[in-house]
């Protein structure tokens, strides 16, 4: 029986939702006079799901039929779920009509592997090409690069898509082999390496000629599942660090494992590790925007992130000798390492202190979170004496209010 489009949409968006990437940023595609859409570099979340995640793109699978049997995946061959497949035209119509209504920034298209990697990749490319050429669609397109697909197809995908991604999923070869015997790290890294050089070649070409074709101007990303395997945060963040450095990825996404399967190859988890996931993102941000080295955040000595304390505060607590930082003298990169001061506040501080030396009130107005920053800075009229306090007291005061509360209750019950 032929399924209605809405039924397919229900099945194939449900199956795609565990891919957490929804970014529509980082690309730059101008519209034409008769075309539809653009992407300006700044992403837009058009709505948020009940779980608080951004909805920016129409995120769907072309099909959830799949020849593989990866334990972590809802669409695995052995799983008893309803299967469906969109036609090329259905995906094109949905994208165009959702976009015209300002529901979305564009399309995120992934797929189960049917027949072969090339066969699947060719379908994905065909949809992107049709949107771009026949419908003059200039909105955002994110395509999955299917491991094992030919380089010609990957290149063509790059010509039409803003971003491409290959998900590594498991943070180590050993764990990957365990849950997805048909997959390997090498297979995921190969298309990444190929795309990396295709992207940088295109960038170089475009510097010479404006008409040279753009290849995936929004770069590449990947996803790691957290909590379904025994890797430490140290191992995970090291892997990310390597990917950023060697494959020049734009983003690594961390997906707290949602227990979707009772497959014996996976650990039994009763709750998605959302706090750990959040801490990993914070650490990732520290590496990308705050000038932290991965080994300053996690190390053999501290292989896992502190779940109670954000990674920047945790770093400061391990390195009290680096503080206090003098707000009116220290350079930007020192200021940005202070807990409670973000990129925006740090920039404002550097701009404002040209006019006058700053005091506490002014810092608060600028947006510095005093609760945390007070232990680590000095400014006009404020000599830091708090650093002499015992470490456990500082640590306790840095904790979020909710954690402080539960800690206090724990102590009460102890007494």
């Amino acid at each position: 029986m032929k399924l209605a489009t809405i039924e397919k949409l229900s099945i194939l968006s449900d199956a795609a939702k565990y891919d957490v990437s929804c970014a529509s940023s980082g690309s730059d595609r101008k519209n034409t006079k008769t075309g539809l859409g653009n992407s300006t570099g700044m992403g837009i979340c058009h709505t948020y799901t009940q779980d608080g995640r951004c909805v920016s793109l129409l995120k769907i699978l072309l099909t959830n039929f799949c020849i593989f049997d990866c334990a972590y995946c809802v669409s695995r061959k052995s799983n008893d779920v309803k299967r469906a497949a969109f036609t090329v035209q259905e995906v094109v119509d949905l994208t165009m009509n959702f976009y015209k209504r300002n529901y979305i920034e564009g399309l995120f298209l992934s797929s189960g592997i049917f027949k072969s990697p090339d066969y699947t990749m060719e379908r994905l490319v065909r949809i992107a090409k049709k949107l771009r050429t026949e419908h003059q669609f200039n909105g955002y397109i994110h395509l999955k690069a299917i491991p094992g697909a030919s380089e010609e197809l990957l290149y063509e995908a790059g010509l039409h898509a803003d971003r491409l991604s290959v998900n590594i999923e498991m943070p180590s070869e050993k764990s990957l082999k365990l849950v997805a015997p048909e997959k390997s790290f090498k297979e995921a890294l190969e298309p990444m390496s190929y795309l990396k050089s295709a992207i940088s070649e295109s960038k170089a070409e475009r510097r010479k000629s404006r008409n040279a074709p753009k290849v995936a101007p929004g770069g590449q990303s990947t996803q790691l599942i957290v909590g379904a395997s025994p890797e430490s945060d140290h191992q995970i963040l090291n892997l990310s660090d390597q990917l950023y450095k060697t494959k020049q990825l734009k983003r690594v996404y961390y997906s707290g494992y949602v227990p979707i399967s009772d497959d014996a190859r996976l650990p039994t988890v009763d709750k998605t590790p959302v706090v750990r996931e959040n801490r990993l993102y914070q650490a990732d941000w520290l590496m990308r925007f705050y000038g932290f080295n991965v080994d300053e955040i996690v190390s053999d000595l501290h292989p896992n992130l502190d779940l109670q304390l954000d990674p920047k505060s945790a770093f400061a607590m391990r390195n009290l000798h680096l503080f206090p930082v003098d707000i009116n003298r220290a350079d930007y990169w020192q200021i940005i390492r202070v807990p409670g001061i973000g990129v925006k506040s740090a920039k404002k501080i550097v701009a404002a202190r040209k006019f006058r030396r700053l005091n506490v009130e002014q810092l608060k107005k600028i947006g510095v979170v005093w609760k945390r920053a007070q232990y680590f800075i000095e400014c006009v009229g404020y000599l830091n004496k708090l650093l002499d306090k015992p470490e456990y007291l500082i640590r306790r005061n840095l904790l979020p209010a909710s954690v402080q509360q539960s800690e206090r209750e724990k102590q009460l019950t102890l007494w």
Partner: protein, 253 residues
């Protein structure tokens, strides 16, 4: 003796505000306030001064600003003005006085109370503009054009047109602010502000194209399906999509 305060009374338009600034400079007024006409009455220590919205005066102020700062600064002033916040006129006057004094860096003196207040207003405006980019929901009408109604916190309609023009150049569309009862109409590469004689609050379903309700249904279905219920987080959801916007969001109906 208390010096009499002059209250410049203007019509609420940006041109009227700039005309007030012109008059303040022309008459060398020191102790002033600038208020919208329908605003509060004057107290016994102040004199009311009616300001006519005068195009050439406003343009002279703009010209002066352009000379002493740049286009971007003027844009920021305009954005702050659209916030309709109480007392924003006086905060802007302080800024304008600094600019005319040649203190061009003043706007980046984040230690200054007035500067911080203006940046806070700008941030609120920026957020509202961004929300409009996100939350406008077009509905297709019978004639193939598209229409959306919105209720922004601030008067951001003059700030959001360009975004939608770039994005939807070949469509005809209207975005209508039902709170302020005016909107933006775009057709044949041109946009104009429009108002209707009758009060417009919603788009009647009888005006919609045959396909429209189908796509709304699919959008709602999509919104449901992409949610991971194991991770539900109502607080986070509400922070990103505050309740006051739900009225015009298809997926929240």
């Amino acid at each position: 003796m208390v010096k009499e305060k002059v209250v410049c009374c203007y019509d609420g338009s940006f041109q009227g505000f700039l005309s007030s600034v012109f008059t303040i400079y022309e008459r060398r007024l020191d102790a002033v306030d600038i208020q919208k006409c329908e605003g509060s009455g004057t107290d016994m220590f102040s004199v009311k001064l009616q300001i006519d919205s005068d195009r050439s005066k406003a343009e002279r102020v703009l010209k002066g600003l352009k000379k002493h700062s740049d286009k971007r600064m003027i844009k920021q002033i305009y954005r702050c003005f659209l916030s309709e916040q109480d007392g924003i006129e006086m905060r802007l006057l302080v800024l304008i006085r600094q600019i005319f004094k040649g203190n061009t860096g003043y706007f980046y003196n984040y230690g200054d109370e007035n500067v911080m207040a203006l940046h806070k207003v700008l941030k609120m405006i920026r957020r509202e503009v961004h929300r409009m980019h996100a939350f406008v929901r077009f509905q297709e009408l019978k004639d193939g054009s598209y229409a959306a109604v919105v209720e922004p916190d601030f008067d951001v309609m003059p700030l959001i047109g360009q975004h939608f023009e770039d994005r939807y150049p070949s469509m005809e569309w209207i975005i209508f602010d039902v709170r302020r009862q005016y909107g933006l109409h775009y057709k044949d590469f041109k946009s104009t502000f429009i108002g209707f004689e009758e009060k417009l609050l919603t788009i009647k379903s009888s005006a919609l194209s045959t396909e429209e309700l189908e796509y709304q249904k699919m959008w709602r279905q999509y919104f449901q399906s992409v949610n991971i219920s194991e991770r539900n987080n109502a607080k986070l959801h509400l922070r990103h999509v505050p309740r006051r916007y739900w009225n015009n969001l298809i997926e929240k109906q």
